[in-house]
């Protein structure tokens, strides 16, 4: 079947702090891991600073901002582009205050690699002092955690160490792979400590000569020597330039790791990958099955993946990731990605890089709903529209969907679209700057302006060819299409920044979520084994109610069904299916069934609203287990549809039988005495808000009759061993007592119950369109924040409470429970009912209480007359309901009588509404509320407005204060 996910609703805009972390390629895991061990939380802080490299003349100085984010120290230049670094604190070996001329506060930091950087703190003196003391504390903590010692072992795993320490780079073979003798050398010299990918054994793709590996290596070696490496790399403009030129194959893996920040994860969790594999050894899941299918289909042309070594490495990495993130599991395209990465990286490195990719760089791309991909498709389309309107219009006229082509590009980062060597270049840049992801594609659009997919394919294939084959200048001829592509993308689309993409994502997020949700709704409905007697639209309404309930009370995570014999008929294993628990069910039912919610009509002179609460009663629990036909303690969408079908289309007899079965716990066709009592309680529960006492009378008559008939039938049942005296047949309360026929007879003896079963029960289930649920507010800025704080549920509640109080003070406050059935009140209390449901009457009631009083008298009269019979009946049924001396004591359930008699005067129980749970702010969607245009409401509106703006101002002030206050902390 299908799973229904509300995960998309839970999206939260990243906080500023998270954005900063992302900017510095730090994932949340780095922090959580660190803070778990930390004894006290170390404050974060940022400060203005000027960075200069310790070595004279190599790089300029850059002004920027220094961030202390334990366990890292990070810096970025003011333009957020030129220079940045992310140093784990533990790689800082030495911090010295420099003796400089007065007024200058400078620190010299020496890193593990012997590199020296100087930061000049340009903030005010006290700020700088504070920063230094915080830095000192943070460093101490790192030392205590023993992280300093970890560095030494860790850097050995990085190829750059070998590169830099080896005196002569000429032992790098041009073909990028080591000769066998060298392999031995490397093995002995470095104890093969550094991590590398399959490429070391199976060669890297591409011709090393053409790629000019040797000169690239040389350039990088120089850079790494001066600017630190692996954990301590400083990224100056030169670094970016080198990346754009292309990474040398042997260094590529490490640079990916460093630039994406996955190296910090690997550093923070040593051994995690191995452990994960060991712990989950032999486990299988849908993901592992899917992975098996694709193992041989990942870059099959690469030699490494024609060998067992490559295949099993790929298997381990993909499986490890699916164990780490079971919700995401495995998505096709990840295999291609992982396979490509594995050429350059070790398994462990690949694993962490995948983590960073799926979690941070490509959020939601590979999730089961693929919302990230869809979202970015939309963003991409809009960017094309903005930047290349001609192409966009052209596509529009010929009805070409861009996403048809671009989807695979996005998902596999071009790896399977372009020849490998070029794809890796794209990947290089992708890790360097996330913007490029969009830029690259952009440009591809330029090249192609009519023919579509085939053209694209041909174009990709021609990337290696000369862009200007007819040019006379040999140097121009040497420029390949690919270089041109990169050039154009960097030059012309550098306007597209990360922020822009973020903004676009924000814009389209709700649209995408909406379309995904409506798709999954359609497919859930389609996947139902049977619609029963519902139409598709009705099933849709059931789904909506279920979905809403799931949003508010999330169900337990999807569990695999236990091996059962129920589904063996097709020989297919059942797919995981969303099932809801009791709490969610209660909420669901409250949406669907009128008696499963407590609705209070509150009038306080300012507004009239309906407060809705989820009712809890044994009856609902019973229904839950009654519908749980497969006995899993949880209901699926199908169960709900079938369950509702079982009651919504019933006629009189079917309803009676349904109700009977519902209370017949052991399904033996008999109700026990206890069950008769619970059944009566169920009646009382359903009728609890009915006006007047007709229903109450009916239930008591039912009980009298039931026990009378039951007792009468009893002797015959026990007739076999009638040694006991018959006149007072006592039967244990848990033995079979009343069968369906008797029950039916008893029910039909009463007109009210009869009509309840004939129509009202089925009609109390109502499928009504729900109001559109709001997505989490994703607007940003002060205004958005303010609005979201104002519009929260709690504030709404506060407002309601407030108006209630005023209403009380003015004497116009009243609370009325809305009846679930609201039918038979007409028989005895036609006026009372009128007053509830028609606006004209209601207003008159809320103003003068005269008519209310009159009614109240009537009600009292009626109540007292019926209470006599009730008393009489109640006596024999000793335990369940205590015999009431007066009409006001049937108190397991609030009595309609009480409601009615105090209708006009009732003092509202203090704060009853404030206890309301989150669910209850559905005040607008009442069924019969076409009446809100009376004066009273106008007053309320006026009041609302005034009130709102007042709050806004106050909050604005507060927000302002906070913003200025923060840095001082």
């Amino acid at each position: 079947m299908s799973t229904i996910s509300t995960a998309l609703r839970n999206f939260k805009e990243p906080t500023k702090e998270q954005l900063t972390q992302n900017f510095f390629s730090l994932s949340g895991a780095v922090f959580t891991d660190a803070s778990a061990e930390k004894s006290q939380e170390i404050e974060k802080m940022d400060i203005n600073a000027v960075l200069s490299l310790g070595v004279e003349g190599v790089e300029d100085s850059y002004a920027g901002k220094l961030y202390l984010m334990p366990p890292c120290l990070t810096f970025t230049s003011l333009d957020r582009k030129s220079v940045r670094f992310t140093l784990p604190l533990c790689t800082i070996r030495r911090v010295e205050r420099l003796n400089a001329r007065a007024g200058i506060y400078a620190l010299s930091l020496s890193s593990w690699h012997g590199m020296k950087i100087i930061v000049q703190l340009t903030s005010l003196r006290p700020t700088a002092d504070l920063f230094c003391s915080l830095l000192r504390d943070a460093l101490k903590v790192e030392l205590q955690r023993g992280r300093m010692k970890a560095v030494k072992g860790f850097v050995k795993t990085c190829y750059s160490e070998v590169l830099v320490s080896s005196p002569a780079p000429e032992n790098e073979r041009e073909d990028g792979s080591l000769m066998t003798t060298e392999e031995k050398d490397a093995a002995t010299a470095n104890e093969s400590a550094y991590h590398g990918g399959l490429g070391l054994r199976f060669k890297f793709p591409g011709d090393p000569k053409k790629l000019r590996e040797a000169s690239k290596i040389k350039l990088w070696t120089t850079y790494l020597k001066a600017h630190g490496r692996n954990l301590t790399l400083l990224r100056y403009p030169q670094c970016t330039r080198l990346v754009q030129v292309g990474l040398p194959n042997r260094l590529r893996g490490e640079m990916w790791e460093v630039l994406s920040g996955s190296i910090y994860l690997r550093f923070a969790s040593p051994g995690y990958y191995e452990q994960l594999l060991v712990e989950n050894k032999g486990r299988s899941s849908t993901s592992t099955e899917d992975i098996e299918k694709d193992l041989h289909r990942s870059l099959p042309e690469y030699a490494g993946y024609q060998s067992d070594e490559g295949i099993s490495a790929l298997r381990r990495v993909l499986q490890a990731y699916s164990f780490k993130n079971p919700e995401l599991g495995y998505c096709q395209a990840m295999n291609i990605l992982a396979a490509a990465i594995l050429i350059y990286m070790s398994e462990e490195q690949t694993f962490w890089l995948l983590e960073v990719l799926c979690d941070r760089l490509l959020p939601g791309y590979y999730a089961p709903s693929m919302h990230g991909t869809l979202l970015d498709q939309r963003v991409f389309e809009s960017l094309v529209q903005r930047c290349l309107p001609i192409i966009h219009d052209h596509f529009q006229t010929v009805d070409v969907q861009l996403s048809v082509a671009s989807l695979p590009w996005f998902l596999s980062l071009f790896i399977n679209s372009m020849p490998m060597i070029f794809a890796f270049r794209i990947v290089d840049c992708f890790f360097c700057m996330a913007i490029l992801k969009i830029n690259g594609e952009k440009l591809l659009q330029i090249q192609d302006d009519g023919g579509f997919l085939n053209h694209m394919r041909e174009y990709f294939a021609s990337l290696g060819e000369s862009a200007h084959p007819n040019s006379t200048d040999p140097r121009a001829r040497a420029i390949t299409n690919f270089q041109e592509l990169l050039l154009v993308s960097f030059r012309e689309f550098s306007v597209i920044t990360d922020e822009m993409i973020q903004g676009e994502r924000k814009r389209f997020r709700s649209e995408i979520i909406h379309s995904i949700e409506s798709f999954s709704k359609r497919s859930s409905i389609r996947n139902l084994r049977t619609l029963e007697r519902f139409t598709k639209d009705q099933a849709g309404l059931i789904y909506d109610a279920l979905y809403k309930a799931m949003c508010i009370v999330p169900p337990p995570p999807v569990v695999l069904p236990p091996p059962s014999l129920l589904n063996t008929n097709d020989g297919t294993e059942e797919k995981p299916e969303t099932r809801i628990g009791l709490r969610t069910f209660q909420y669901f039912l409250s949406e669907v069934a009128t008696w499963a919610r407590d609705e209070k009509i509150v009038m306080n002179g300012f507004q009239q609203r309906i407060d809705r609460e989820v009712a809890e009663h044994e009856f609902i629990d019973r229904l839950f287990f009654f519908w749980d036909v497969s006995c899993r303690g949880a209901l699926s969408f199908q169960d709900l549809v079938s369950g509702l079908d079982g009651v919504m289309f019933n006629d009189l007899m079917e309803n009676i039988e349904w109700f009977f079965n519902l209370h017949d716990k052991n399904k033996d066709g008999f109700l026990t005495k206890d069950e008769v009592l619970t059944l009566s309680e169920s009646f009382l529960f359903i009728f609890r808000y009915e006006i007047g006492d007709a229903y109450l009378g009916a239930v008591s008559r039912f009980m009298t009759n039931a026990f009378e008939y039951g007792d009468a039938l009893l002797p015959r049942e026990e007739g076999a061993d009638d040694s006991e005296p018959l006149p007072s047949p006592t039967i244990a309360s848990n033995l079979p007592y009343l069968n369906l026929a008797t029950f039916r007879m008893v029910v039909l003896a009463d007109e009210i119950l009869e009509s309840f079963f004939e129509t009202d029960l089925s009609a109390s289930f109502r499928l009504e369109p729900l109001p559109e649920m709001e997505l989490p507010v994703s607007s940003s800025g002060i205004l958005g924040d303010l609005w979201s704080t104002i519009a929260t549920d709690s504030n709404k509640r506060m407002f309601n409470m407030f108006t209630d109080e005023i209403g009380k003070a003015v004497g116009k406050h009243q609370v009325v429970h809305r009846p679930s059935i609201g039918r038979y009140t007409k028989l005895e209390e036609p006026k009372a009912r009128e007053s509830l449901l028609t606006p004209a009457m209601r207003r008159s009631m809320s103003q003068g209480n005269l008519s209310g009083k009159a009614k109240e008298d009537e009600i009292k009269a009626a109540a007292s007359s019926s209470s006599l019979t009730v008393d009489a009946v109640m006596q024999p049924s000793k335990d369940a309901i205590s015999a009431p001396p007066s009409s006001t004591i049937y108190s397991p359930i609030p009595k309609p009588l009480i409601q009615a008699s105090t209708l006009a005067f009732m003092e509202r129980t203090p704060f009853a509404i404030d206890d309301a749970k989150d669910e209850d702010d559905e005040s607008e969607d009442e069924v019969d509320g076409e009446d809100n245009d009376d004066q009273v409401l106008d007053e309320v509106d006026a009041f609302l407005e005034a009130h709102d703006s007042g709050l806004t101002d106050a909050d604005k002030e507060l927000a302002k204060d906070l913003r200025t206050a923060e840095p001082v902390k």
């Binding site: 289909r297 870059l299 099959p300 869809l374 695979p408 085939n454």
Partner: protein, 258 residues
């Protein structure tokens, strides 16, 4: 033949066809066989969808298949409507060695019948039938070298013919021909068992689809938007020569089958 096809471009009929089915049942291989008469043992999984075209001749019409080959994994499901909208034909593929893939195929059929173009021609194709045939009829000389690893993998792509298949090939079959045939008849589908590896049944599959498509109505409708059809016809898909779907001609052309 290609010349003939483009020469009678005004008669060419575009047929949008979409392939659906569970992951790794061989959708892409079926298309590849049809379009370029090739077979790749380890075809990379399709991401999103792939697009190929093939021209074929049926009686006096030229059909131009625009084939959308979709990704099979469950999570790509939500993208499928994008591809099957306006499709005139669909091939739902399952794997004869995997019972669950037929179930998935059934759900695709259900979805198509409810959601897609109401006149869509649907064909059910049980692929990888070479795995369950006796070696004499199916063995391709090249296959023995590819069959070393994954001998126990029932989900293997055709290239990974288990070495044991020579012994009891029918043992691999999980979907009896009769069962699938019965379902297809009941649901009103065309039905074929195919092998992308040997080419068995592939041309027949597309021929029967072509015959069933109401060419006249498509012609009538595309005449109106002739400008578009002409433009598309201009960029001939794969550059391969077309396949002649007339049955007489089909036989000699597929001589490689046996």
């Amino acid at each position: 033949m290609a010349e003939a096809a483009s020469g009678s471009a005004d008669k060419s009929v575009q047929v949008k066809l979409v392939l659906l089915g569970e992951a790794a049942v061989g959708k892409s291989s079926v298309v590849l066989r049809f379009v370029s008469n090739e077979f790749q043992a380890n075809k990379e999984p399709t991401i999103g969808a792939a697009f190929l075209t093939q021209k074929c001749r049926l009686e006096d019409h030229v059909l131009r298949y625009e084939i959308w080959d979709t990704a099979g994994q469950e999570r790509f499901h939500s993208l499928a409507p994008m591809y099957y909208r306006n499709a005139q034909a669909a091939v739902v593929v399952y794997d004869v060695t995997k019972a669950s893939s037929l179930e998935k195929a059934k759900s695709w059929v259900k979805e198509l019948q409810r959601q897609a173009n109401p006149n869509i021609v649907i064909a059910l194709a049980g692929n990888k039938v070479d795995l369950v045939q006796s070696p004499s009829s199916s063995a391709h000389p090249a296959s023995s070298s590819e069959s070393e690893d994954e001998a126990d993998d029932a989900t293997a792509t055709p290239g990974e013919t288990p070495a044991s298949s020579g012994g009891e090939p029918e043992g691999l079959r999980q979907v009896p021909r009769e069962e699938a045939q019965a379902y297809a008849t009941e649901a009103g589908l065309l039905f074929f068992e195919t092998s992308a590896k040997t080419g068995e049944g592939i041309v027949e599959l597309f021929t029967e689809i072509a015959k069933k498509i109401p060419i006249g109505t498509i012609l009538a409708s595309t005449r109106g938007g002739a400008g578009r059809a002409g433009a598309n016809g201009g960029r001939a898909g794969t550059g391969q020569e077309g396949v002649n779907l007339d049955e007489n001609a089909a036989k000699p052309k597929d001589a490689c089958n046996c």
